[in-house]
């Protein structure tokens, strides 16, 4: 997706979580986390909020729209 970058991988690793663990925490499949990290999927607001709470970072720091 143009103009969209995702810093999730960095925040997830800083939190010591694997993709599978994060997926389980936020109620999605690991494949969804994989695509999010590659900025190939645009999450819903609810998922974005859940992820931001799980990794302890603000939404706009994780998902960056230029």
């Amino acid at each position: 997706m143009e103009g969209f970058t995702c810093e999730l991988k960095r925040y997830r690793q800083a939190k010591g979580l694997t993709q599978g663990q994060l997926a389980e925490l936020v109620g999605v499949r690991r494949e969804t986390i994989m695509r999010l990290e590659k900025a190939q999927y645009n999450p819903s607001l609810k998922l974005a909020v859940d992820i931001s709470r799980a990794v302890g970072a603000a939404i706009e720091e994780i998902f960056v729209f230029e």
Binding site: Q19, G27, V28, R29, E31, T32, M34, R35, E37, K38, Q40, Y41, P43, S44, L47
Partner: protein, 228 residues
Amino acid sequence: MTMKMRKTPRFPKWLFLVLLGMTCAAATGTAVWYDLTYNSGRLVYPMDSYAFQPMDIPMIIVVAADVLFFLHLAFLLVRGIIAQREHVAKTGRTRRLSPKFGFLGFLGLFGFAGFWSYGALGDLTPFVFFTFFGFFGFFFEGKMSNILMDERYKENAVRAELKAYRVGFGTVFALLILAGQSGRFKADLVAPVLVAGIALTVALTMFLSEYLLYRYDHDDTAALEEGE
């Protein structure tokens, strides 16, 4: 005092059903042979009015057994569907299905019987069997059996269905034009072209919605895993 329970190997249910079906088929064959040989084929050939005779008893018993068998199959099917729906509602996961159910798609081959039945009897009904080609989609649904239906899955499902319907409606539109043209050459062709064509379109739509969902869900997964 403790009693040791010996584990007996469990007889698979599907094998039991297959054996039961084969028994019913064999019994029906025997009853037809009996009726033709000893009962002048009273219950095999069409009749205007029926009056009971004791010689009819074997055939009646076999037909009753066949009906019971099919009712049992229908009951198992309905119970399975209800259980699958409960599973989906309770767990938020896709229904549990073996990809082997995809082989049911071969039932669509029965649709070709329509060419014979329409020519010989003017009956279009067998063309409807072409719809069963859509069961080939179970190959792909089975590959995504019992996975979590998260928001990306649901989005992909809607996307795949929309695409499949678009292709389906386009095909029906083309078919209608074709059927209208065929009327100029031979009006008899309109009905079979429409029935067979629409049955095939339904099958295509059923198959495409599963196939596309699988493609949307799995494309580039291998490439993504490398980057983990």
